[in-house]
């Protein structure tokens, strides 16, 4: 095997022993031990909040463990900073992009190098070398902000391996990729593996763990609750392996999650499929219609061009697309947060194009934003006030502009009970609640009292599986009662599971609509539109 000179010799092992890390109020990692072997893909599996990210940031030198030790090839080491991690050959591709959008690809790659002057030529040849290794072609001189998502990820991997790498950590790399981009990622991974690199692959999707991993470690609640060695992995069938992993992931909650089958669905064990009993909604009256809607915005994410679609009563209309392709713009023109430059929006035949947030809110057009902490709620205000945030100044909660506290508290208590929001009291600051409960606050605020159309943007992003299930149930209930939902998501599984139809947005336009008829090729058709719509995507 022709290992490139920058790569460490194979058969090395990085061992974590008894890693414990606590944050105020939560133990993120509790006595976790695992070995990462070169030339293997080690899957780290667990739902949100299981402690995967903390473990990674310890390996990356961003956090220090409270106790426990790390050794590389048997030598105990301290990884005190990201720089130290790099010196040990540990490269991390973070879940959120670490590229500086206003710098070029090459500048991004050179960032953090020593020496006085920029060595552009050397950097360009290193990039070429890595591109060959990854099987990608990347223009070194375009701005990082102009990269398509798949390419962006290739650049991130190149950056992680820039100074020579023995271990590559990929943190949830697939969550926003199209099916074909996932395939080419898998290809890159197996090339790197063949070069003798160790890879830690973090995911919350079972089928990816099985397909790409040589061995699996399962985390739950900060603890290591299960592992499958490479030997065991190869001795089990896919179903057996999945059942074993699921039992570890859910433990005694397996029954609560609705048994093995339902848990498997939640954990993305299989290709997602829509609910079996689909009703034909097209015969129902049109609830919301957009005709040629365009908006103006400074970035691609907030501008949309010539959007037209109609949604019927009781329908969930999914919007798929690569993150940042106009999803926020679409949500905002629907909610009234963004001015519409041309085109019309009508609700049950009545033109609402010119109405603002408050009047649309009153007419039943609601928006559950994806930015729960900084847009949807005010962290240092109470749960009660946050529940009424869109009704400030209205009777009976305010009289002559003055707050009527008993009325506010009664309404808050009612909503807290109805949506089972876990909060010490209505007066607790909303910022102290968990992500799932904050999301319930938002849903309680938007779904109640005369909601007709609800736009939900990445409604389950960052939630644990039980909360995901709850959110899905709430949305299903809402449409069952005749409501209608615009579901914007970057999780293809979620879209396929819930939507009646899926529109694909790319560069601010709806480039295609796929009937979610339960066919096996729905995901592929959606993916096809996602790529076709964007000029520089990978293949």
């Amino acid at each position: 095997m022709s290992a490139s000179p920058t790569l460490a010799p194979a058969a090395g092992v990085i061992s974590l022993t008894g890693i414990t890390k606590a944050f105020p109020g939560v133990i993120a990692n509790d006595d976790i031990s695992l070995d990462i072997v070169n030339g293997q893909v080690h899957c780290l599996l667990g739902e949100n909040g299981a402690g995967k990210s903390t473990l990674i940031s310890i390996l990356a030198g961003m956090q220090f463990p409270d106790s426990g030790s790390i050794s590389i090839d048997g030598v105990p080491v301290t990884i005190g900073s990201p720089k130290a991690a790099m010196r040990f050959g540990i490269g991390v591709v973070h879940q959120h992009s670490t590229l500086v959008p206003s710098l070029t690809v090459l500048e991004n790659l050179m960032l953090g190098e020593g020496g006085l002057t920029l060595k552009e030529k050397r950097a360009a040849s290193r990039l070429e070398e890595l591109s060959g290794l990854l099987g990608a072609s990347i223009d070194p001189n375009i701005l990082a902000s102009d990269l398509a998502l798949g390419q962006q990820q290739q650049v991130e991997i190149a950056k992680a391996m820039w100074t020579g790498s023995r271990l590559l950590i990929l943190d949830e790399p697939t969550s926003m990729l199209t099916p074909s981009a996932i395939e080419s990622l898998a290809e890159s991974m197996s090339r790197l593996k063949a070069e003798g690199l160790g890879i830690v692959f973090i995911t919350h999707k079972l089928r990816e763990a099985y397909a790409m991993g040589d061995c699996v470690t399962v985390l739950r609640g900060g603890r290591k609750v299960g592992e499958l060695s490479p030997e065991r992995m190869s001795s089990l069938t896919e179903d057996q392996a999945q059942a074993e992993i699921l039992r570890a992931m859910f433990g005694e909650d397996l029954a609560a999650a609705g048994g093995l089958e339902s848990a498997a669905e939640l954990a993305g064990a299989t290709e997602a499929a829509p609910e079996t009993s689909r009703v034909d909604v097209t015969s129902r009256p049109v609830r919301l219609e957009l005709a040629g809607v365009s908006s103006v915005g400074k970035s691609m994410d907030v501008s949309v061009t010539d959007i037209s679609f109609a949604i019927h009563e009781g329908e969930i209309f999914g919007i798929a697309g690569i993150d940042g392709h106009g999803q926020a713009g679409l949500a905002e023109v629907l909610s009234g947060q963004r001015a519409i430059a041309s085109g019309t929006v009508s609700l049950q035949g009545i033109d609402i194009t010119r109405l603002g947030v408050r009047s649309r809110q009153e007419k039943g057009v609601r928006y559950v934003t994806d930015d729960r902490l900084h847009e949807g709620t005010v962290g240092n205000l109470s749960v009660a006030i946050n529940l009424l945030l869109k009704r400030i100044g209205t009777a009976p909660f305010w009289r002559f502009g003055q707050i009527n506290k008993p009325a506010v508290n009664d309404e808050a208590k009612r909503l807290i009970a109805q949506y089972t929001i876990h909060t010490p009291s209505p007066n607790t600051r909303v910022g102290t609640l968990s992500g799932g409960n904050i999301q319930k606050v938002l849903l309680a605020r938007e779904l109640g009292r005369g909601a007709r159309v609800v736009v939900v943007n990445k409604p389950t992003y960052g939630l644990d599986l039980k909360s995901v299930r709850l959110v899905h149930d709430l949305l299903r209930e809402f449409v069952a009662d005749g409501g209608c939902v615009v579901l914007i998501s970057t999780e293809l599984d979620e879209l396929i599971e819930l939507s009646d139809r899926i529109g694909v947005i790319s560069r601010g336009r709806i480039v295609g609509t796929v009937e979610n008829d339960g066919g096996a090729d729905v995901a592929e058709r959606v993916g096809h539109y996602m790529i076709g719509g964007s000029a520089h995507d990978i293949d």
Partner: protein, 310 residues
């Protein structure tokens, strides 16, 4: 008016223009470096005053304008340490600190000046350094090529800073720290160190700018002599968006308005002095009204960086 356009007059005009522009240019470059790294130094007015005062004191004491400039440099660096420690290291509110530095700079220099020099108001002897040969050329010789040596050093500093920002790893780190500090952190750089260096360099350059004003441009110190120049430097920085060449051009334009003001005073027209002092500000406001609209500062400008916080 034609009798005004004598060589003597044009010489005086160019001198007024250049000595008005250089202090602003130095301060604006300092502010640019800071802002590129993500730190907005609102206390630059106070830093300049400290530079001006201590430059003046040292120049008086040592009879050397060079040591005077050095004194201004040190004072500027020392004053910026407040921002460095409290904002960059501890993450305290930069606007409040900026107001504090401005107030402290004005207060300290005025109290000391009143205590020590107010009765005598000594002036610094000017050194008449000229570039041999070139300074004999008519008009430009008596103006451009008779500028103090520090003028040329300032130009050199400008070129060096511009080069550093664009061509070095350090400049790249500064730009990353100002655009997306988490990226610099993840790439193994140190946001805190990079920003500290930028703030210190900014303090040095602003201190030099202040000292240039007292030691070289006016040869004296008066309380609050910067008279808002620090704020203009912030505007220049905003408009230049990190491009040093633009800083130079806008600073020269400012020098031009100063020179025009001087000319207006020389004419027999009854132009209020206040109008002349207002002139650069009115120009700044008009420029902001026309070009300032799409000034898009970095989203992280002024936000302290904490690892792990989003």
């Amino acid at each position: 008016m034609t009798d005004l356009l004598t060589p003597t007059f044009i010489t005086a005009f160019i001198i007024a223009c250049l000595s008005g522009a250089v202090p602003l240019m130095l301060a604006s470059i300092g502010e640019t470096v800071g802002e590129q790294s993500g730190v907005l130094n609102l206390g630059i007015e106070g830093v300049m005053l400290m530079g001006a005062y201590f430059g003046y004191v040292v120049a008086l004491g040592t009879h050397s304008t060079w040591l005077g400039m050095l004194g201004g440099l040190v004072a500027g660096a020392a004053t910026s340490l407040v921002l460095l420690v409290l904002n960059v290291w501890l993450g305290l509110n930069q606007i409040v600190l900026g107001i504090a530095i401005t107030a402290a700079g004005g207060g300290i220099t005025t109290v000391l000046y009143d205590q020590i020099y107010a009765k005598t108001s000594p002036r610094i002897p000017t050194d008449n350094w000229k570039i041999p040969g070139l300074s004999d050329i008519p008009v430009v010789g008596g103006s451009v090529f008779s500028q103090p040596a520090m003028f040329w050093v300032s130009l050199l500093i400008t070129v060096i800073v511009a080069w550093f920002l664009v061509k070095t790893n350090w400049g790249l780190s500064i730009r990353a720290a100002g655009q997306k500090p988490s990226s610099l952190d993840a790439a193994g750089g140190s946001v805190m160190r990079t920003r500290s260096q930028a703030v210190l360099l900014g303090g040095i350059l602003s201190g030099l700018g202040g000292a240039y004003l007292s030691v070289l441009a006016t040869s004296s110190f008066t309380p609050f002599m910067t008279n808002g120049l620090g704020y203009i430097a912030i505007v220049v920085t905003m408009l230049s968006r990190g491009k040093i060449l633009r800083v130079v051009i806008v600073s020269l334009l400012y020098g031009l308005t100063i020179a025009v003001g001087t000319v207006l005073q020389l004419t027999s027209l009854d132009v209020p002095t206040d109008l002349i002092t207002m002139l650069p500000y009115i120009v700044v406001m008009i420029v902001l009204l026309i070009f300032g609209r799409d000034v898009n500062n970095s989203p992280v400008l002024g936000a302290p960086y904490t690892r792990g916080a989003r």
